[in-house]
């Protein structure tokens, strides 16, 4: 956990966090995917890229909120790709779906090709787009909305991991 905390502090210092609506959201830059990759080598986690403009993203966030019921979910990371100009609506959306307690990032501007390529050179931009990092450093891409049962399973596993 020491490494994790150090990385979080480093990320906060390097990117700055936003206050107000979307409080705690950090700026996601081209360097962030590598930092998340490195962190997720140490502990299982899931990074979900989502957008305000994507109906299944809203559906998935609602499902995630229903699964969590306001609980923390260590290892669950949300990245909005709408840009900081949308910060207020992003914050309102996260609160509405009861996922504002999760670690959250925003891209500086609407996701463009260079940043998308830095995240995943095989990603054409479909949303939601998620990466599940599991034991043994496996990174599995999940395109599209994730079913409630699978989200429940992932959240439960992360919770067990956090206790250990």
């Amino acid at each position: 956990m020491t490494l994790y905390r150090s990385l979080v502090v480093m990320l906060l210092l390097s990117t700055g966090a936003y206050a107000g609506q979307g409080e705690g959201a950090r700026l996601f830059t081209a360097a962030t995917p590598a930092l998340l990759d490195e962190r997720c080598q140490q502990e299982e986690c899931m990074v979900i890229y989502w957008s305000l403009d994507c109906p299944p993203c809203h559906s998935e966030l609602k499902t995630l909120g229903d699964v969590l019921k306001g609980r923390e979910a260590p290892g669950m990371v949300l990245v909005s790709v709408d840009g900081r100009a949308q910060l207020a609506e992003i914050g309102e959306t996260l609160s509405r779906y009861r996922v504002a307690q999760l670690e959250s990032w925003i891209t500086p501007s609407p996701l463009d090709l260079p940043l998308r390529y830095a995240i995943d050179p095989k990603w054409f931009g479909e949303l939601p787009n998620s990466y599940l990092y599991t034991a043994g450093s496996r990174k599995v891409r999940i395109v599209g909305e994730i079913e409630a049962s699978r989200l429940q399973m992932i959240v439960s596993r992360f919770a067990r991991q956090a206790k250990n």
């Binding site: 994507c54 109906p55 299944p56 390529y117 050179p121 931009g125 479909e126 949303l127």
Partner: protein
């Protein structure tokens, strides 16, 4: 302002080569990539899109729509601060006019990627603009329309085309004008989904709707549903069949168990819309938003569509050629390379010549590549790079006035770029 932008020698040469390949019998001497360069003027050229209170600037637009009228004039529409601005030049590549505001009352206008205003031309120099007005609720909107009968000097008070006015999605409009001068609009519409939800029923995706104006845009018909269960966030493609002079439509549809392939439907000469045909069989099953709609063009004997899929069997861009008489699929082939993220295609026809342009990325630069067929899509030349840019860009669009071919490619913060590809 000259809207042709500067190109390096390599890029210009590739455009010349492409021209030589396609128009092999003609002299390449006259083939033109104009090397003249002109910056769009602004009070702060170094940072045109950051200053508070700045005047609207084409460079700062998220997306740009360009169209050529029947006389070779260029028209450019873009959105800033709740207004659509329209600029023109009587000859593509020459100085753009001062911007005219299309909608005098500001609206929340959809702009960016799959969303942008549309431009079409009617008889007697009429100009038509269509767009989506965003409403307060997420994913809701109205299809809006305005016309000009004084060559764009002024525009009519906008009207709403969708006759269902509840706050739900009427978005992703597409517009063409047929040979009779009738204006056809199609869009993605969730009125049926809303009704199903009220009944407690499930409705997948959206629906494809159509309206037509036979009075130069003064009014539009009762809306007609063309298809249930369209994908809900991909642009629609329309074209005019050169034989019938009537419109056809291609869109991403939801087939079976969330299979996201493409449908085609056309207006027949009896005035009825034909049955929906399935255009693609990628079998891409996804619950995602692709945000990646098709492009469509028509030649005398065939329809030409380029579309994206990302399934296990087909991933990347694909070209489909459809016989215009039988609607039988004649050919299907990959376009570009999935490795270089080939995406957001644009297809046009010039007689029997077919051109496809698309965006790609190599990890350092975005490129627009172009591929040409001299024989109605039966055979294809090798792709060539037409333009490059370090950083993010808008989608590429091919424009043709029937004689010359151009690439319209907007890069946020940069001067608008129009590349002349053929003589």
């Amino acid at each position: 302002m000259n809207v042709f932008c500067h190109f390096n020698y390599r890029t210009g040469l590739l455009a010349l080569v492409l021209f030589a390949l396609v128009d092999g019998g003609h002299s390449v001497r006259a083939a033109a990539v104009d090397h003249s360069h002109h910056q769009h003027t602004t009070s702060d050229p170094a940072a045109p899109c950051t200053a508070q209170g700045e005047l609207p600037d084409l460079r700062c637009a998220k997306s740009v729509t360009a169209a050529l009228d029947g006389e070779g004039g260029l028209w450019v529409a873009w959105v800033s601060g709740g207004h659509i601005y329209l600029q023109s030049s009587p000859k593509a590549g020459s100085e753009l006019s001062r911007a005219v505001v299309v909608n005098r009352q500001p609206e929340r206008i959809s702009a960016g990627n799959e969303h942008r205003p549309k431009i079409a031309f009617g008889r007697d120099g009429r100009i038509y603009i269509a767009w989506t007005e965003k409403l307060a609720k997420r994913f809701s909107g109205h299809i809006r329309f305005a016309w000009s009968d004084d060559r764009g000097a002024s525009f009519s008070t906008p009207l709403t085309v969708n006759d269902h006015l509840e706050v739900t999605s009427h978005r992703f409009e597409s517009m063409v004008v047929d040979a009779r001068g009738h204006i056809h609009l199609t869009w993605l519409d969730k009125r049926d989904r809303l009704a199903a939800e009220i009944r407690g029923e499930e409705y997948r995706g959206a629906a494809l709707y159509h309206a037509v104006s036979t009075d130069n845009g003064v009014s539009f018909s009762v809306n007609k549903k063309l298809a249930d269960n369209s994908c809900e966030c991909c642009r629609i493609a329309m074209a005019i069949d050169p034989q019938s002079g009537l419109p056809l439509v291609v869109w991403r549809h939801i087939y079976g168990d969330n299979i996201r392939d493409h449908g085609l439907v056309r207006l027949n000469e009896n005035g009825e819309w034909g049955e929906q045909q399935r255009l693609s069989y990628s079998q891409w099953q996804t619950s995602s938003c692709p945000h990646h709609g098709p492009s469509l063009a028509a030649s005398s004997e065939a329809y030409h569509a380029v579309w994206f899929a990302n399934g296990a069997e087909q991933s990347g861009l694909f070209y489909s050629r459809v016989d215009r008489n039988s609607l039988r699929r004649l050919d299907e082939r990959p376009v570009g390379s999935a490795v270089s993220l080939s995406s957001h295609p644009s297809v046009v026809t010039m007689g029997e010549r077919v051109y496809i342009a698309w965006l790609s990325y190599d990890g350092k630069e975005s490129h627009v590549l172009i591929q040409a067929s001299p024989d109605g899509g039966e055979s294809w030349q090798a792709p060539a790079t037409l333009a490059s840019h370090a950083g993010g860009t808008d989608y590429p669009f091919l424009l043709s006035d029937g004689e010359r071919l151009y690439l319209s490619w907007h890069r946020a913060g940069e001067p608008y770029q129009l590349v002349r590809v053929t003589k």
